[in-house]
């Protein structure tokens, strides 16, 4: 595992999305700066949050002072010198301060969270838009799970930044700063003692959170392995049963599980050690304040009220200081998650509209490939398609055959511009497809893919995917042509039946027929079947072909298939080998040629039982 993955990472620009790879320091700082700038898109709320924070801190700090004064006033009255009205006034001020603190905290938290949610909202849209627009070559090389993590987990890290990192920093700085000034100016020694736990707790809490974060990432990986073991076991339960492999599977489970459990125990230890040490430091400081302050009270240097102020202040400060680690963690998290997230939304879109590109104008409906070559990114320039030229006119059907890996699918993917050619050009009615609006190319060229992705929604919505504003009768029409209609009518909810990942599961043939229907819906000028009838039986396929006879007269049809019966009626057949066209002509011409096509034909047409008897007859 290690070898392959490190090797891949070394020369893969998208490695940043892998959770295990680290984010550079500069990238991290850049991300922090950028999130901070983004927050200022909402200047009113940011200002409100900061002002409310200051106000909350001030009212918060006033409470110990008022309390201390009330204690002193009480004592003064008891000793016959005080003023009862002043005590009542103190009580009222205390109440007012408490209410004000609550309200300011409300404003602070709510505005801070709303800034975070606003950022998340903006970023969600950016991420979604970018993912939809990034080209096939990006998606080929990026693990879908990694993108999902960026869009869900990393987004949370960025969202939390404003409230947990930034606002908390302001809060803590003010609270500790003003509080320290207040205490130290009252009594230097007692102030130092009261604050003595702060540096220790802050340090301990930060170390703890950073350690927890690091182990959390490892734990997530371990848990991912564990859930993969379980998931694969359940999905492949028939294999497990077939091999009576329950013991083998339990051993796999135990290995993964023990590992994860050990790690989570060690995390508990880290947390427990730190929190109990912090508590001890806090109570220790409190004991010192009581002891030293007590002597000072007894010596008449300070009042009991002042001592109470000190002690109350300590309790107020305790929680935020202990949570300082969360703040440090929020910075660490925002820097890595932000770096990953921005890397995604800044990823250049390789296949996009040229500036001011016009719409594709379909006139004669002629497709022309001129000396087209193509190599995949990261293939080291090894051509998957090389020097292919052909022309097709409206109404024509072109068949494409060749061994697996000969470049058939790749060639088909160049026509709707899923990938850009590396040399040569593709034109539709004389317009280079790279010079016109991408969207108009995709409308003109539609592909029935090998593995069709169905969306988890109704059959109706799936068929209308490419033309959602269509009329209902057209849905029925294409469904009929694709030989799907009768099947759909047999379903309890008919066209309202939900299919896809979480819906009714369809057989391979049904999926392909649905995929054909939704492609027909688009009424493209160029219709491509990319080995998309493999799971459909020969009879049904020929009925689909018959139903499409009229439809095909209006457009170009390209058919890639293994079964020669699917394409031998084509006007022209191209035989691909290693990315080049090695034979072309009609079925009859190619048979007469007696080359590779003929060999393939013989292989398929011979009674199958005999194939094995003549070893290595072909290719």
């Amino acid at each position: 595992m290690t070898d392959t993955s490190t090797e891949l990472q070394a020369n893969d620009p998208q490695r940043i999305f892998r959770r295990t790879s680290s984010v550079g320091r500069d990238q991290g700082l850049g991300a922090i700066a950028r999130i901070t700038r983004m927050a200022f898109r909402y200047p009113v709320r940011v200002t409100l949050a900061l002002v409310a924070t200051v106000a909350a801190v001030l009212t918060q700090l006033s409470i110990p002072v008022i309390l201390g004064r009330a204690v002193d006033q009480t004592q003064a009255i008891a000793e016959g010198g005080g003023d009862r009205d002043a005590l009542v006034a103190s009580a009222l001020i205390l109440l007012a301060a408490s209410v004000a603190r609550g309200l300011f905290t409300l404003v602070q938290n709510y505005t801070a969270e709303s800034v975070g949610h606003s950022l998340a909202r903006d970023l969600r849209k950016d991420i979604y838009d970018r993912i939809q627009r990034l080209s096939f070559s990006f998606h080929d090389r990026t693990h879908s799970g990694d993108l999902i993590t960026v869009g869900m987990l990393d987004l949370e890290g960025v969202r939390m930044y404003f409230s947990t990192a930034l606002v908390r920093t302001v809060l803590l700085t003010l609270l500790i700063g003003i509080g320290a000034w207040l205490l130290l100016s009252t009594d230097l020694v007692l102030g130092l003692l009261a604050l003595s736990f702060v540096p220790f707790a802050a340090w301990r809490s930060s170390v703890m959170q950073l350690t927890l974060r690091k182990t959390w990432l490892v734990l997530q990986e371990r848990l991912a392995i564990l859930s993969r073991v379980m998931e694969e076991n359940l999905a492949g339960i028939r294999v497990v049963r077939a091999f009576s492999a329950a013991d083998h599977e339990m051993a796999k489970f135990d290995r993964a599980s023990t590992e994860a459990l050990r790690l989570s125990h060690s995390r508990i230890n880290v947390r427990v050690r730190a929190t109990s040490a912090m508590t001890m430091a806090f109570f220790g400081a409190m004991a010192l304040v009581l002891l030293v302050g007590g002597r000072q009270v007894a010596a008449g240097e300070i009042t009991v009220g002042t001592l109470a102020t000190f002690l109350t202040f300590m309790t107020i400060l305790q929680m935020p200081v202990r949570q300082l680690g969360l703040m440090v963690n929020a910075y660490a998290r925002a820097s890595t998650t932000g770096a990953r997230l921005f890397a995604l939304i800044d990823m250049p879109v390789a296949i996009d509209d040229a500036p001011g590109a016009p719409e594709l104008q379909i006139t004669d409906g002629t497709l022309r490939l001129e000396d087209v070559s193509f190599a995949y990114d990261g293939s080291g320039g090894q051509a998957a398609v090389s020097g292919v030229s052909f022309e097709a006119r409206r109404g024509e059907t072109i068949g494409v055959v060749g061994a697996p890996g000969s470049g058939k699918t790749t060639l088909m993917h160049l026509i709707p511009r899923f990938y850009d050619v590396t040399a040569g050009r593709i034109t539709i009615d004389g317009q280079d497809i790279r010079d016109v609006r991408l969207s108009s190319v995709r409308q003109a060229v539609a592909v029935v893919q090998q593995d069709s992705f169905l969306f988890t929604t109704t059959i109706e919505n799936n068929i209308a995917y490419g033309d959602p504003f269509t009329e209902g009768r057209r849905i029925r029409g294409v469904s009929d042509s694709a030989q799907l209609h009768d099947y759909v009518l047999g379903l309890p909810k008919q066209y309202g039946t939900i299919v896809g990942e979480r819906g009714v599961s369809l057989s391979g043939g049904q999926r392909q027929r649905l995929s054909i229907a939704r492609t027909l819906m688009m009424e493209p000028a160029i219709l491509i079947f990319d080995d998309s009838t493999a799971a459909i039986d020969a009879g049904t396929e020929s009925r689909i072909r018959a139903a499409l006879r009229e439809y095909a007269a209006d457009r170009i049809t390209l058919i890639v298939a293994h079964r020669l019966a699917s394409l031998m009626h084509a006007d022209r057949i191209l035989f691909l080998e290693d990315g080049s066209v090695v034979e072309q002509g009609t079925h009859e011409e190619l048979l007469a040629l007696g080359g590779r096509y003929k060999a393939l034909h013989d292989l398929q047409m011979r009674p199958e039982g005999d194939v094995l008897d003549e070893k290595e007859a072909t290719p």
Partner: protein
């Protein structure tokens, strides 16, 4: 969201006006999140898992109580120091020293108790979580396959993860809430003890808080759920965009989808703001109540101090306690939701644990050994997943040792079920399945697994190296055995061409291999077992002719010297079999070799002459017609 999603049965052309048929993401069918707060049955089941750790439970509860006690005692120490150690004028060293020593003792106890409490509780909860998960996983290895077929993997995974996690949360917080209750009771108790009248005055805020909190909780929970829901809908739409990106681009839906997604994002945003508002509204309420309580202590307590009824230290202690007693109330009300969630989860967990184990070794089961031959026999077998509707009716046939039999018939004829019965995935309702001359119910499942190798229709591979995948559970096989098996089925060549040969890690489900290659690997995996009997369900999908040829060749190697039972779809396979068994609607209707069946002119000959590549994906009208002929 969109009515079309849960629409009534209808035909799409029954509406005149055009409307948009587009959604992004889909509404998740959420399960019940909250159950009753307490369900005795669930608690009893969960207790089974906690029982092994009861010593730890006792320790952690004791530690929690100790910890609470130390927390309670600190304001008392402060009060004692203020009232007895700080009389103005005379420095009373003794009292302050005593307080200092007591303080040190309390801190030490607190330290030990808090460490013990957190560590023991945390570990115990983790252990229970892992134990429950292990038991469930082990149980799922033994439950009936039809249960597994009916249940989505995602559902089971959410039992094994989400539900188990919420049990862990519950266990952890249960111990802590014992602490919370004790803290609350302790604070109230100590305050009453210090001065009951002042205490009662102060405690008047508690009922107010409780009422507010209960009124709040119902609304807040609805808002939190709505936010959670909106989040999962939005995330679902994102996941769909990622998985379906090629289809989206191919059908030029990116622009429209972005608009639809924006709506979801806005809904999500608003739901979160609502939840946030509701969460924050409690802050000023609690703060105001704290303010009221403190003001009461200042005025009423102050007057009591003046009148000499209490000492000033008591007043200070009250102020300290007030600042603490809202926390336990807050966490206790939260705990209520945790409990409800845990009960709902616990209920689902016990449902999984209670699924019946379908097939078990008989107490006197013997192991199938080398001496037992490779014959398979069905003796008047009747079987159905639902006894009302048998899928096999009184089927009998015999496959001699070393013979290859092709099993054919249209979808639903009972082929796959027959295969499952040979390996005793299920028990027959009537009759018997014999392997090696013994009833499968009389032999151990483990030995049956070694006696029969199976190749399933879908070549399922696991994440891991090619080597591990071919060896799978055949631990006895050496690396050389694996390579030899790969060679025999003709997979060695492409494996060697992989970047790391046999050590190449396969992606999820072998995604980096072609279908044909995956099939060859699954052949090799079956070959490594080196079993007497091979049961094979041939793949139906069309693959290219070259790979097809390789697979046919591999199949021959695989069947050499073994008993073969093949659910066949390809004419080549069928014609190479020694005998053909034709099933239809659970009944054996024809049996014999190719020539004999052709001569008989039954279903087989009709299907054969129609020249369908596969007997499985027959057009409906043909099966209908056949059914009509048969009846």
């Amino acid at each position: 969201m969109n009515p079309a999603q849960h629409g009534e049965p209808r035909d799409p052309h029954d509406d005149g006006r055009p409307r948009m048929r587009a959604v992004v993401g889909s509404h998740r069918i959420e399960e019940e999140i909250f159950g009753r707060a307490f369900d005795g049955k669930v608690v009893r089941r969960i207790w089974e898992f906690v029982r092994p750790y009861r010593r730890q439970v006792v320790i952690s509860v004791a530690a929690v109580l100790t910890f609470t006690a130390t927390q309670l005692s600190i304001p008392l120490l402060i009060r004692y120091a203020i009232d007895h150690g700080m009389e103005p004028g005379g420095v009373q060293n003794n009292v302050l020293t005593v307080v200092a020593i007591l303080f040190a003792v309390v801190i030490a106890i607190n330290y030990v108790a808090s460490r013990t409490q957190e560590a023991v509780t945390g570990r115990m909860a983790e252990n229970v979580l892992f134990d429950i998960r292990r038991r469930m996983f082990a149980h799922l290895q033994r439950v009936s396959l039809s249960f597994m077929d009916k249940t989505e993997v995602g559902r089971l995974m959410s039992r094994l993860q989400g539900d188990v996690n919420s049990m862990q949360e519950f266990l952890e917080t249960s111990v802590l809430s014992v602490g919370d209750i004790m803290l609350l009771v302790g604070i109230v108790g100590v305050m009453l003890w210090l001065d009951w009248q002042l205490a009662l005055l102060v405690l008047m805020v508690i009922p107010i808080l409780l009422v507010v909190r209960i009124l709040w909780l119902a609304r807040a929970r609805a808002a939190f759920m709505a936010a959670h829901e909106a989040n999962s809908v939005t995330n679902g739409a994102l996941a769909e965009a990622i998985h379906g990106v090629r289809a989206v681009q191919a059908m030029d839906r990116a622009a429209l989808n972005a608009r639809l997604y924006d709506e979801l994002v806005e809904d999500n945003f608003n739901a979160h703001l609502r939840a946030s508002r509701l969460a924050q509204i409690m802050v000023p309420i609690v703060d105001s109540l704290t303010g009221i309580a403190m003001a009461v202590v200042v005025v009423a307590g102050g007057l009591m101090v003046v009148s000499g009824r209490i000492e000033v230290g008591v007043m200070v202690a009250f102020l300290f306690y007030i600042q603490r007693f809202f926390d336990p109330i807050r966490s206790l009300t939260m705990q209520y939701s945790v409990m409800q969630r845990a009960m709902a989860s616990g209920h689902r967990l016990t449902e999984v644990l209670d699924v019946e184990v379908a097939v078990q070794d008989a107490p006197d089961a013997v192991a199938l050994g080398e001496d037992d031959d490779g014959s398979v026999e069905f003796r008047n077998v009747t079987f159905g997943y639902d006894p009302e509707h048998p899928v096999l009716k009184n089927v009998s046939f015999r496959v001699g040792s070393g013979e290859t039999v092709a099993l054919i018939g249209p979808t639903g004829s009972g082929k796959s079920s027959s295969m499952a019965l040979i390996h005793r995935f299920y028990d027959v309702d009537d009759g018997a399945v014999m392997v090696g001359g013994r009833d499968v119910r009389a032999v151990t499942q483990e030995s049956l697994g070694r006696h029969i190798a199976m190749v399933l229709q879908e070549p399922y591979l696991f994440t891991g190296s090619v080597m591990d995948n071919i060896r799978y559970s055949s631990h006895w096989a050496t690396d050389d055995d694996v390579v030899e098996a790969a060679r025999a089925v003709g997979a060695h060549e492409f494996i060697s061409a992989l970047p790391h040969g046999y050590e190449t890690i396969l992606d999820e489900r072998g995604g980096n291999l072609s279908l044909g290659q995956r099939q060859l690997l699954s052949f090799a995996r079956a070959l490594v077992v080196d079993a007497r009997i091979l049961v094979l369900d041939e793949a139906t999908a069309n693959i290219d002719s070259y790979t097809e040829m390789q697979i046919q060749r591999a199949l021959r190697t695989l069947l050499e010297g073994r008993t073969g039972l093949v659910i066949a779809h390809r004419l080549a396979t069928i014609r190479n079999a020694d005998r053909i068994v034709v099933l239809q609607q659970g009944q054996l209707i024809e049996e014999g070799d190719h020539e004999a069946l052709m001569d008989a002119g039954g279903l087989y000959s009709r299907l054969y002459t129609m020249n369908y590549a596969s007997f499985d994906d027959l057009p409906d009208e043909i099966t209908e017609a056949e059914r009509a002929i048969a009846t």
